[in-house]
C-alpha cells in the first residue's frame, strides 16, 4: 500500500476555557486560568463548558432543541473545525467527507428518574409503575439525544457531512482509536478526508455517578494532575474537539492551509497491574517516536488517577528526557472520550503558534525554552487503554 501523508486542516475546540483555538491560546497564557465548579456536585468538581452562542454553528432552533448538551458541544466544535478548514457549506466535499466520532451516551431526564425512585419503594407493583411513568413522562425524542451515534447523526444533519459515519465507544481509548483508524485509512488510500472528534458533557450527575462508584473522581476541589496523591482521581471537564484530517495531496489540491501533520498514531492495551501503564504506553510511544523530529513538546491527557498518572510521567521522561510536558487536565479537566482529541487540539495549537503554553500553576511542569518542531500526545485511560500520537510542524 502507498503510504500517504496525513495532515490536519481544521480544528474545532470548545471547553471550559472558551471556544476556538485563539481563545484557548489566550487563556492558556495565564498559568492559573482554570474554570472549576466545585459546588454543584460536591464533593466532586467539574470544569463546566463556557456558554456558547449556538446559532453560530447550529442555526436551526429545532436542531438545537433535538440535542442534549453533549451533542451541542460536539456539533458546535465540528462546525468550528469545518469553518477553519474552509469546508463549511462546500456541499460536494462535505457529502464525501467521512465521519469518525468517539462518544459515550447522552443525558437522562433527572426529574423523571427522581420521581420514579421516590415512588417505587412505596408501590406494590414497582415494575408496572416504572413502565407507566416512563411511558407517560419521557419525552419521546430524548432517546435520540442519548444514542451514542446520534452525535454523528446531528453533525450530518447540521453540517451536511454525509460521506458515512462511524461512532466508536469506550471512554478515553475510543478517542485514540477514532484518530488512529482515520489516520490509517487515509494513509492507505481508504478515504481522502475525515472529520474526526468527540464531545463530552461533564455537568451531568448520571455520568458522574458511574465514576463516583469506581472511586476514580477527585474529591475536595481542584489540584493539578501531578499533585493529587492526597485525593487521586479525575476532575471531569466538558469539551468538544473535532479535526479535519486529509491526505496531504487532497488538502493541497483544494488549496487548504495545513496546520500540522499527523505523523503517526498508536493504541495499545494492558492489564492494569503495577507497571503495566508504563510498559504499554512505552510501546505506544516507541511506535510513534520515529515520526518525531527536532524539539519535542508533550501534551499528556493524564487523568489524575495518581498511580497511573505517575507511571505515565515517568515513562514519558524516560523516552523523551528533558521534553517539556503539559497536562491537558490541568487546564480543561478530563473529558473522557474527548480527552485525546482535546490534547491533540492543544498539540496542533502549539505547533501552529510555534510555542508551548506555560506550565500550569502549582503543577511542577518545566518551562519550555525552544519552539517545538513536533508534539507527542499521550493518553492513558483511567481504567484501560494507552495511546500516543506524533504531530509535526508542516514545512
Amino acid at each position: 500500500m502507498g503510504q500517504r501523508d496525513v495532515v490536519i486542516t481544521g480544528v474545532g475546540l470548545v471547553s471550559s476555557l472558551g471556544e476556538g483555538l485563539e481563545a484557548h491560546a489566550g487563556a492558556l497564557k495565564d498559568p492559573s486560568a482554570v474554570n472549576v465548579d466545585a459546588t454543584t456536585y460536591a464533593p466532586f468538581s467539574v470544569h463546566p463548558a463556557v456558554a456558547l452562542e449556538l446559532d453560530r454553528q447550529i442555526p436551526k432552533k429545532l436542531d438545537q432543541k433535538q440535542m442534549e448538551p453533549w451533542q451541542r458541544l460536539g456539533t458546535y466544535a465540528a462546525g468550528l473545525a469545518l469553518e477553519m478548514a474552509g469546508l463549511k457549506g462546500d456541499k460536494e466535499k462535505l457529502s464525501e467527507t467521512q465521519l469518525i466520532v468517539a462518544a459515550g451516551g447522552g443525558e437522562r431526564d433527572y426529574a423523571v428518574d427522581g420521581q420514579i425512585l421516590t415512588e417505587m419503594p412505596k408501590s406494590a407493583t414497582p415494575g408496572v409503575l416504572l413502565n407507566e411513568k416512563l411511558m407517560g413522562e419521557l419525552r419521546p425524542t430524548l432517546f435520540l439525544a442519548q444514542l451514542s451515534n446520534l452525535l454523528a447523526g446531528n453533525i450530518s444533519i447540521v453540517h451536511g457531512v454525509t460521506g458515512a459515519s462511524r461512532t466508536f465507544m469506550g471512554e478515553e481509548q475510543c478517542g485514540v482509536d477514532a484518530v488512529r483508524i482515520a489516520f490509517e485509512r487515509i494513509r492507505a488510500g481508504q478515504g481522502d478526508r475525515f472529520l474526526v472528534g468527540s464531545s463530552y458533557n461533564s455537568e451531568r450527575p448520571d455520568s458522574l455517578l458511574i465514576f463516583a462508584m469506581g472511586g476514580v473522581l477527585k474529591q475536595g476541589g481542584f489540584a493539578p494532575v501531578q499533585k493529587r496523591e492526597a485525593s487521586p482521581g479525575m476532575i471531569l471537564g466538558s469539551a468538544g474537539a473535532f479535526f479535519v484530517m486529509e491526505a496531504r495531496e487532497a488538502a493541497e489540491a483544494r488549496g487548504a492551509t495545513i496546520l500540522a501533520e499527523l505523523a503517526d498514531v498508536s493504541a495499545t492495551r494492558s492489564i492494569r497491574d503495577a507497571g503495566a501503564v508504563a510498559a504499554s504506553l512505552g510501546v505506544a510511544i516507541d511506535a510513534v517516536k520515529p515520526a518525531l523530529s527536532g524539539a519535542v513538546a508533550v501534551i499528556s491527557g493524564a487523568s489524575g488517577c495518581a498511580d497511573i498518572t505517575a507511571e505515565e510521567f515517568d515513562v514519558i521522561a524516560e523516552k523523551l528526557p528533558g521534553a517539556p510536558i503539559r497536562a491537558t487536565g490541568n487546564r480543561l479537566g478530563h473529558a473522557l472520550e474527548s480527552q485525546f482529541a482535546v490534547s491533540l487540539a492543544l498539540g496542533v495549537l502549539t505547533l501552529k503558534d510555534g510555542a508551548l503554553f506555560p506550565p500550569a500553576a502549582g503543577s511542577g511542569e518545566a518551562p519550555a525554552d525552544t519552539a517545538p518542531q513536533s508534539v507527542l500526545v499521550t493518553s492513558v485511560g483511567h481504567k484501560r487503554g494507552e495511546g500516543a500520537a506524533a504531530l509535526k510542524r508542516t514545512q
Binding site: 425512585l117 421516590t118 454525509t162 460521506g163 482509536d177 455517578l209 458511574i210
Partner: protein, 424 residues
C-alpha cells in the same frame, strides 16, 4: 490472492451465532429455514402498562447481574467461542488479530439506581445528589467497570487474546455490519491477516423497549407474538426487538489457504453512505441507501445483475420496508422483481446492534447451503412492494452473491456483499 484493486481478498473461516432461535449455527439455520419464530411474550420484566409486550429474547443465556451489558457480553462469548473454534485459528486465548465489536450503548439500569437510592437512606424525594452520595461510599465499585462502554470489548480481548486496542462501535442498527467492514478494511490495508468481528445485543429491558415504543417504532400486535414481525406485508406495523450475537473470523485469502483453513465465503464488497435528512427518517429519494448498495456492488467489482439474493434489513416498519424496496428496485431495475429478497427479522426480530453481523452469518449460510430462508408471516402482500420476498417457505436456489443491507437511525447505511468464491 489480491482483488482487482490489488487488495488482499477477505474470506470468512469461522462463524458463531446465538439468537432467540437457539445457540449455534446448526440449530439456528435449521429453525430459520423451517420458518420458526423466536418471538415470544416477555417474561423477564413486568409488561403492565406497555403497548408492546413481546420480543425475541434469548432466555436460555443467564447473566449476573442481569443487565444489558452483562447479557451482551455473555452472548458475544458464546458466538466467539463457536467462530474461533470453527476457524481453528491461533492458540487458545491467542487470536492473531484485532477485535471489532458492535455493542449496545451501555447504561446503568433501574435495579442499580434503586439500590443506590436505597443505600442513600433518603426517605423523602430522591435526587441524583442522593445517588452520588451512595456511590461515593465505595460499596458499588464493580458497577463502575460493568457500565463503562469499553468493558465488553476489553473482557473479550482478554479472554480470546485478540491483538491491539479492541474497538467498540455503534452505527445504531447497522453496527454489526460496520464491525465487519472495519475488519475487512484492516485486512485490506495489510495491517493484519485476521480479524475478529462481532455484533452483540442483549438490551431487551423495560426502558430500552419503552424508548422505541415512544418513537412508535415497535409492532403492537402482541397476539400471537410469532405473528408480529411481518416484513414487506401490507399490515406491518413496526419492528419487534430481538437479541443475540454473531461472530465472524475474517482472514486474508492467502492466510486462510496457507494454513489450510476451510473458507466459508468471501466478503467481496462493502458500501456505506451517510444521510443528513433526519434523525430517524431516510431521505425521501432513498439515495443514501441506494448509494450504499451501489458502493458495495462496485467495491466487489460486480454489477447489479450478479446479485442472486438480497438479505434485507426488512425491519417490518412501514417506512423501512417501503424505502428498502424502492432502493433495491432503483439499483437493480426491473430485474429486482425476480431477485429473491427475504428478512430474517420476520423470525428473530430486530437484533439491533447485532443485526448486521447476525444477518451476515445467515447470508453466508445461505451460500453454503444453497437455500434461501423465508420471510414468514407474509399473508397480505403490499402492492407498493412488488417483490419476491420468499414468502413463508424456504427455497432451494443457486446463490453465488448475496447483498446484505443494514440501515440505522442517525443516517447510517451499510451494505455488505458476500460471494461464494474469491475472484481476482
Amino acid at each position: 490472492m489480491k482483488d482487482r484493486n490489488g487488495r488482499p481478498v477477505v474470506v470468512v473461516t469461522g462463524i458463531g451465532l446465538v439468537t432467540s432461535l437457539g445457540q449455534g449455527k446448526t440449530d439456528n439455520w435449521a429453525a430459520l429455514t423451517a420458518g420458526k419464530s423466536g418471538i415470544r411474550q416477555i417474561t423477564r420484566f413486568p409488561t403492565g402498562g406497555l403497548r408492546t409486550t413481546i420480543a425475541g429474547t434469548v432466555d436460555f443465556v443467564k447473566a449476573e447481574p442481569f443487565c444489558a451489558a452483562q447479557l451482551s457480553e455473555n452472548f458475544a462469548r458464546i458466538a466467539v467461542e463457536e467462530a474461533v473454534g470453527e476457524a481453528k485459528i491461533g492458540g487458545k486465548g491467542d487470536f492473531p488479530g484485532p477485535l471489532f465489536i458492535a455493542v449496545p450503548p451501555v447504561e446503568m439500569e433501574w435495579p442499580q439506581r434503586e439500590a443506590l437510592a436505597k443505600a442513600s437512606g433518603q426517605t423523602g424525594d430522591v435526587t441524583y445528589a442522593d445517588l452520588l452520595k451512595a456511590a461515593a461510599t465505595g460499596a458499588f465499585k464493580p458497577w463502575h467497570d460493568l457500565f463503562l462502554f469499553g468493558t465488553v470489548a476489553d473482557r473479550l480481548a482478554e479472554t480470546f487474546g485478540t491483538k491491539g486496542s479492541p474497538i467498540s462501535l455503534s452505527t445504531a442498527c447497522s453496527s454489526g455490519a460496520t464491525a465487519i467492514q472495519l475488519g475487512v478494511e484492516a485486512i485490506r490495508r495489510g495491517e493484519t491477516d485476521a480479524a475478529l468481528c462481532v455484533g452483540t445485543d442483549g438490551s431487551v429491558q423495560a426502558e430500552a423497549l419503552i424508548r422505541f415504543s415512544l418513537l412508535s417504532a415497535l409492532s403492537t400486535q402482541n397476539d400471537p407474538p410469532e405473528g408480529a414481525s411481518k416484513p414487506f406485508s401490507k399490515n406491518r406495523d413496526g419492528f419487534v426487538m430481538g437479541e443475540g450475537a454473531a461472530a465472524l473470523v475474517l482472514e486474508s485469502y492467502a492466510s486462510a489457504k496457507a494454513r489450510g483453513a476451510k473458507i466459508l465465503g468471501v466478503i467481496a464488497g462493502c458500501g456505506e453512505k451517510g444521510d443528513g435528512f433526519h434523525r430517524t427518517r431516510t431521505s425521501p429519494d432513498g439515495m443514501p441507501a441506494i448509494l450504499a448498495m451501489r458502493g458495495a456492488i462496485a467495491d466487489a467489482g460486480l454489477t447489479p445483475d450478479d446479485i442472486d439474493y438480497v438479505n434485507a434489513h426488512g425491519t417490518s416498519t412501514p417506512e423501512n420496508d417501503k424505502m428498502e424496496s424502492l432502493g433495491c428496485m432503483a439499483v437493480m431495475g426491473e430485474r429486482m422483481k425476480s431477485v429473491p429478497i427475504s428478512s430474517n427479522k420476520s423470525m428473530i426480530g430486530h437484533t439491533l446492534t447485532a443485526a448486521g453481523a447476525v444477518e451476515a452469518v445467515f447470508s453466508l449460510l445461505t451460500i453454503a447451503n444453497q437455500k434461501i430462508p423465508p420471510t414468514i408471516n407474509y399473508a397480505q402482500p403490499d402492492p407498493a412492494i412488488p417483490l419476491d420476498v420468499v414468502p413463508n417457505v424456504a427455497r432451494d436456489a443457486r446463490v453465488r452473491h448475496v447483498m446484505s443491507n443494514s440501515f440505522g437511525f442517525g443516517g447510517q447505511n451499510t451494505v455488505l456483499l458476500f460471494a461464494a468464491e474469491a475472484r481476482q
